[in-house]
């Protein structure tokens, strides 16, 4: 079974430019999450999709970030315009109900996209 994939693995852009990150979740996973770790900080939640709907976007830092999940499959995260403080690693994760008595949703993470804004 293919895992969560993210593209690109690394992106270097100049301040003010636009970058679009892509995430392909595990097939059949309705839940899709975006997280990021900026330099020296902890991994922070950005937003959560259930199929194509945004369930929780409370972690999105500002309106320069736009996430979409058309058709409930892959997702994109666009940063426009990028700022220096956006540099970091962006992780995508997906989940479906795991076959445990309490219905725990194990999240499967992709390898991340390292974004460098210069």
């Amino acid at each position: 079974e293919a895992g969560v994939t993210q593209f690109p693995s690394h992106s270097v852009i100049e301040k003010g430019q636009t970058v679009t990150l892509r995430c392909d979740p595990i097939s059949g996973h309705d839940n899709l999450y975006w997280y990021r770790r900026v330099m020296g900080k902890e991994i922070k939640f950005l937003l959560h999709f259930v199929k194509e709907s945004k369930q929780d976007e409370s972690g999105m830092p500002n309106n320069r970030f736009l996430a979409e999940r058309t058709g409930g499959t892959y997702s994109t995260l666009k940063v426009q315009p990028a700022e220096l403080e956006d540099s970091g690693v962006y992780f995508c994760a997906s989940s479906q109900v795991r076959a445990l008595p309490w219905g725990y949703y194990e999240q499967y993470f992709g390898p991340g996209t390292r974004l460098t804004v210069t």
């Binding site: 939640f45 259930v50 972690g59 992780f91 725990y104 999240q107 390898p111």
Partner: protein, 111 residues
């Protein structure tokens, strides 16, 4: 969700058993304790989850005492490849909510 506290780093030698303790004094009745592992240049990976007493799988064991204010992740006979960051998180049972990561514990296994 309960705030978790764990050591910043630990060193061990190959073949030893490693125990990483996590404190979660304010854990709620509906919360479970979940551990993730992260290798460099990879995303976090689920290791184990438990509510209380002891849970064991092919990778690790998790001990949670009756008061559930702490938990201990036990890795038997570690190898160099177990060098990673280990995160202790509280997770709401039956919920698909986001995960809240702390600083984690950097485990370094030495030869």
């Amino acid at each position: 969700l309960a705030k978790t506290t764990q050591p910043i780093s630990m060193d061990s030698y190959e073949g030893q058993e490693v125990n990483i303790t996590c404190s979660h004094n304010n854990i709620a009745t509906n919360d479970y304790i979940t551990w993730y592992q992260q290798f460099p240049s990879q995303g976090p990976r689920f290791i184990i989850q438990g509510y209380k007493t002891k849970v064991t799988n092919e990778v690790a064991s998790l001990f949670i005492p009756a008061d559930r204010k702490s938990s201990t992740l036990s890795l038997p006979r570690v190898s160099l490849s177990d060098t990673a960051v280990y995160y202790c998180l509280s997770s709401r049972g039956g919920s698909a909510r986001q995960l809240t990561f702390g600083s984690g514990t950097q485990l370094t296994v030495l030869p």
